[in-house]
Amino acid sequence: MHSRLLIGLLMLLFGLPFGLLGLLALAQGWHFPQALPPAYSLAALRTLGAADSELLAGLGRSLLLAGTVALLATAGGFGVARAVARSRWSRQWEAASYLPYALPPVLLATLVQPFIIRLQLSGSGGGVVLGLLLVALPFATLLLRSFWSVQAREYEQLARTLGCSARQAFGRVLLPLAWPLLRTTLFQTFLLAWFDFGLTNVLSVGKVRTLTVQVFSYVGEANTALAAVASLLLVLPPALLLGLNRTALWRRPG
């Protein structure tokens, strides 16, 4: 009984936002004190079908940005983690990795913005990717650091003694060994970029209109239906990831 109550409560708590988003996306002229919308309309959802749909473009932009960041951060993090593991200053490098990862993204963005402008990356996807990598790369490095243990090194050496080339040892031994962790890192860095609003908004000077930036601007113009549709689009990929692999959504670094 106790346990059912708990489950019911949590389901209600976690389900409420989704139900509300659905209603808001379909509601028309819904004002206080009506508990349910007086009329429903597919107008907001239909904007998704339009050829020049800003929401669909935003979805594409968000996917592209987050995908690029995930790939770069995971591949880079794998290499950096290896270099860190073998460096004389391994501990110092680990400590340094916490610096950008622990600063609030908006603050980080305001700090590095003058340099992003000088690099002529302000307001471009490249600038946003660079900014997000600032957070995602150390995060990936910290996550993947645990893989490059003495054991991994021994496996690599063993493979080499058994006649593998460096490339074979990497492709046939190390990569399969690291794959579960790499997959988690890919998912995690993807979500990190996917969920970001503050950093993207500051570094893109409002020009790279990802889904989160659109949610914020629709909320700003009190356009709740479109804000709800954009929110639902934002929830979609993480939900797919959850279906694919639950643990991918959750992992602590270090």
Binding site: S3, L6, I7, L10, M11, F14, P17, L20, L21, L24, H31, F32, P33, A35, V80, V84, S87, W93, A95, A96, Y98, L99, P100, A102, L103, P104, P105, V106, L107, L108, T110, L111, V112, Q113, P114, F115, L133, L134, L137, T141, S146, W194, F197, G198, V202, T212, V215, F216, V219, A227, S231, L234, V235, P238, L242, R246, L249, W250, R252, G254
Partner: protein, 285 residues
Amino acid sequence: MALDIRRFFSTTLLGGYGLLVLGLPLAGLGYALLGSLGLAGPLAAGFTPRYWLALGANAGLLYSALFSTWVALVSVGVSVALALSLVLRAQPTLRRWPLPGLLYVPLLLPALVLAFCLFQLLSGAGWLARLSYGLEWIGSPADFPELVQDSAGLGIILAQVLLTFPFLTLLLQAIYQESRLDELRQLSSTLGASAGQFRGRVAVPLLLRRAAPTLLLNFIATLGAYDVPLLLGRPHPQMLSVFVATRQQFDLRELPMGYLAGFLVALGLLALIGILIKLTRRHAL
């Protein structure tokens, strides 16, 4: 020779990494310092200590820091309490369907979307207020209790708790299982300890100690939260990130003050990160 090349590659990689993750933020910090002294920025007119001196007269930043600390302490505190009570008191439920999966659901929500939902749910004209009106508990939006954009930051705290506690529950549950606390519990009860004694003297300290770095990381993240307070906060008091980001809305001449605030906040958080690193070392991996 091959070794040398590899060594060179590795050094270059680390060099590039350092340039990105240390060089860029530190350069930004330096630029902010120069900006706050009137030495850099669009309207810089030469060295002036004016903005640093004005800091004493302007309590805004301090107030913001206090408010952020309050929100972060309460959010993390409540989240930890909830997670601990679930892990220690609802162990069988936690292992049964649908709970572990259910706890992943809030991780799907970006902070901004959760904040938007909470506003739609809890504001004076929100959904709960409408239900209350339908039940004739309230006569107008003004009668509904202030749950978002309130002076104590309740809305922000609620959002942060909803984002944090499921994650913490999963974390503590993992530690609980890794540390074989169930076996320890059985052992201690055979030795005559009560369930309360086991929880208070063994389980809670162990869980908290092992989760400490993550908790501190969460605390820092909440201190610097931006998306949630942007939608659920008030113009006054503001949380730190919002404070820093809104310093330059109307007047370019306020910009050095913005640089100064950014510099000080970043410095403060870096000190906290220093503590975090020490903690991680002590309870190494």
